[in-house]
Amino acid sequence: MSIEEQVVAIIADQAMLDPSDVTPDSTLSDLAIDSIGLVESIFVIEERFDIAVPFNANDPNADGFDISSVASIVAAVTKLKTEQDK
């Protein structure tokens, strides 16, 4: 599976939806994922891709991990994976 497919699967699992219901422009709020659900998804992403995601729930936008949509999360994970595999 591609990074995108895997991230979508993780988010869909958190949202208790079918992956086909999660589109690139879906926002977390569209999917009813709150900040705690997001923290859990980030944990799964870190474990799956063996990366460290900088994220503080008190200030979700501070660390450059863009959570504004599914597409932005996929892009951020792809970037972190590339950087941290070096």
Partner: protein, 402 residues
């Protein structure tokens, strides 16, 4: 119903090894949060805490005692010694039978658990010390205090995460008020600054990497601390009859459950606990001069707590003072309400309000006078101490000047 007063106080925490040192630090706005000195700290993303530095357990306890005393028990015993000595009480005969110990803790003997899991899992040992169980159990501190001071009355441990010590002190208050006990040794203790204790918290992504800045627009999370505070609560008539120095009166207490979310705080739950404590104390809203806030420094707690205070107090919210001393000693989890009660007692007895340090910028969602950075003189007759725990369990105490 009997009136309940406080006749002794003791503490050890990152800003003081006793009450006078702690109150001096609160007056000066001194910060006890610093780089952690613990095993495997390099594997943590959160590397700061309100750790008690320069602490030597062998200076206070002998080898046999240390085989039974986890760090959280040690902090409770040291605090209880100060409090009971100050009270002047000697527990013998009927007084011993009618006096007990109720302490809060969230993690109990967490350091003992960690050390021994390391021994069996990491080092592959197949043998551990025979006293691990009595050392790590949550009631170890209560039991050791009862034994050291001959307290034979009702004694148990309360564990409600960050509200543990407020719930504990509430029970002690109720027991004296209803005549079940004459004096109670009560408060809370926590020693969670070990690798596992911090690893679990950092995974929640609610911790700050550099400072605890409650109510500031720039706040970015909580910082853990460690320590204990213990008080002697006493039947007012008993304290008067023996001419005791009364620190203040415990006027009311209330509890509530959010019954909503295990992590996100609820304004409604906090509101009911604050209102309930004042109703229990039969005090009007405008009697309150100071609130020691739960004030964790997280985005969610601080705005929810301020919204609750505004809802309860209405126009009076603009007149009262509220601060979070967690900015100095960190969040002492199951012992935090006890350590914070010291700030309430200082406000009542000395007319000094402990500041919220680390405050950098106004947050419109926290539009209450939080005594930023510098302590303030204020004549205060009634104080509240808030504690709102994960799990949505809330406990608020009301104290009155004596």
């Amino acid at each position: 119903m009997r009136r309940v007063v406080i006749t002794g106080a003791g503490t050890i925490n990152s800003i003081g090894a006793d009450v006078p040192q702690t109150l001096a630090a609160m007056r000066e706005g001194r910060c006890g949060i610093d780089k952690l000195d613990i095993q495997d700290v390099d594997r943590l993303s959160i590397q700061i805490g309100g750790q008690i530095k320069g602490y030597d357990e062998t200076a206070h306890f002998d080898r046999q005692q240390l085989s039974l005393y986890d760090r959280f028990t040690q902090f409770a015993l040291l605090s209880a010694r100060q409090a009971i000595t100050q009270s002047g009480l000697t527990f013998v005969g009927e007084l011993a039978d009618r006096s007990g110990v109720i302490l809060g803790t969230s993690g109990g003997g967490l350091n003992t658990q960690e050390e021994n899991y390391r021994a069996v899992f990491e080092a592959g040992k197949n043998r551990v010390h025979p006293f691990i169980v009595p050392k790590l159990m949550h009631n170890a501190a209560v039991s050791q205090v009862s034994m050291e001071w001959n307290l034979h009355g009702p004694s148990f441990t309360v564990s409600t995460a960050c509200a543990s010590s407020n719930h504990a002190m509430g029970q002690a208050f109720h027991m004296i008020r209803c005549g079940m006990a004459t004096a109670m040794v009560t408060g809370g203790s926590e020693a969670m600054l070990c690798f596992g204790g911090i690893k679990a918290w950092e995974s929640l992504r609610v911790m700050s990497q550099d400072a605890c800045r409650p109510f500031s627009a720039t706040r970015d999370g909580m910082v853990q601390g460690e320590g204990a505070a213990v008080f002697v609560f006493e039947d007012y008539e008993h304290a008067c009859a023996r001419g005791a120095d009364i620190l203040c009166e415990v006027a009311g207490f209330a509890m509530s459950a959010d019954a909503a979310d295990v992590l996100m705080p609820s304004k409604h739950g906090a509101t009911r606990a604050i209102t309930g404590a004042l109703k229990d104390a039969q005090l009007p809203l405008d009697a309150v001069g100071y609130i020691n806030a739960h004030g964790t420094g997280t985005a969610a707690n601080d705005k929810t707590e301020c919204a609750a205070v505004v809802e309860v107090f209405g126009a009076h919210a603009d007149k009262l003072l509220m601060s979070s001393t967690k900015s100095m000693h960190g969040h002492i989890i199951g012992g935090t309400g006890a350590v914070e009660l010291l700030a309430c007692i200082m406000a009542l007895r000395e007319g000094v309000i402990a500041p919220t340090i680390g405050y950098e910028a106004h947050d419109p969602e926290c539009a209450i006078d939080v005594v930023p950075n510098v302590a303030r003189d204020a004549d205060v007759d009634v104080t509240l101490s808030n504690a709102f725990a994960f799990g949505g369990l809330n406990a608020v105490l009301a104290l009155r000047k004596f």
